[in-house]
């Protein structure tokens, strides 16, 4: 079974500092996508970043970047220059590429990030 594990239920970071959120996953598939979603108190699910498994280059979106280690099945999220608005629950998610429509997102349990002023 495909699973996603986030081992840090809560994290805290000082404003302007850098924080890394961990995620590991288990799959026997070779073709898949990985995502980080952010859920602020408004409860809206917001896509932060995505990574295609076939790409060796780590994805980057402004202050957000990932460290994708395919062999280790690890997909961590680094937030640089943390801002108060980054405070949220962060979910790591995995989606296999079966080439059809049977592609569901499998979520981790989330990491609640607090940003201290």
């Amino acid at each position: 079974a495909q699973t996603v594990t986030q081992s840090q239920p809560e994290m805290s970071v000082q404003e302007a500092e850098t924080v890394t959120l961990s995620c590991t996953y288990d799959t026997s598939e070779s073709d898949y996508y990985l995502f980080w979603y952010k859920q602020p108190p408004s409860r809206q699910m917001i896509l932060v970043i995505r990574q295609e498994a076939y790409k060796q280059q780590n994805a980057t979106e402004n202050r957000f970047s990932v460290n994708f280690q395919k062999a280790a099945k690890s997909f961590s999220l680094k937030i640089s220059d943390s801002q108060l608005g980054d405070a949220a629950m962060y979910f790591c998610a995995y989606k296999p590429n079966y080439g059809g429509a049977t592609n569901k997102l499998i979520f981790g349990t989330g990491t609640l990030l607090a940003v201290q002023p």
């Binding site: 898949y32 809206q44 699910m45 896509l47 995505r50 296999p96």
Partner: protein, 112 residues
């Protein structure tokens, strides 16, 4: 323009009632989903539709019945509501394949 919208955003009802949640997306996506987020914030897929056809049906009580009148709409009807149905229900859509999903604002259902 709202990409994925859900109505209502809040729903409070009594046990035994029947209720519906509506979802619409204007992204032109082929695939739509329903997810349930429980009190511990865990997100789990319930259903997926592709071009109005049911593709994924996880282990969900048959009191839950999704309906997709067209590609842009996916509704969720729940019969005989129970206390354990209290949760946030998210609708999402995506292009067919392993692509990112775009979520609606969620519907917080409270069953008393």
């Amino acid at each position: 323009d709202t990409a994925v919208s859900q109505t209502p955003k809040y729903l409070v009802t009594q046990m035994g009632n029947d209720k519906s949640i509506k979802c619409e997306q204007n992204l032109g996506h082929d695939t739509m989903y329903w997810y349930k987020q429980d009190s511990k914030k865990f997100l789990k897929i319930m259903f997926s539709y592709n071009n109005k056809e049911l593709i994924i049906n996880e282990t969900v009580p048959n009191r839950f019945s999704p309906k997709s009148p067209d590609k842009a709409h996916l509704n969720l009807h729940i019969n005989s509501l129970e206390l354990g149905d209290s949760a946030v229900y998210f609708c999402a859509s995506s292009r067919q394949g392993p692509y990112e999903q775009y979520f609606g604002p969620g519907t917080r259902l409270t069953v008393t």
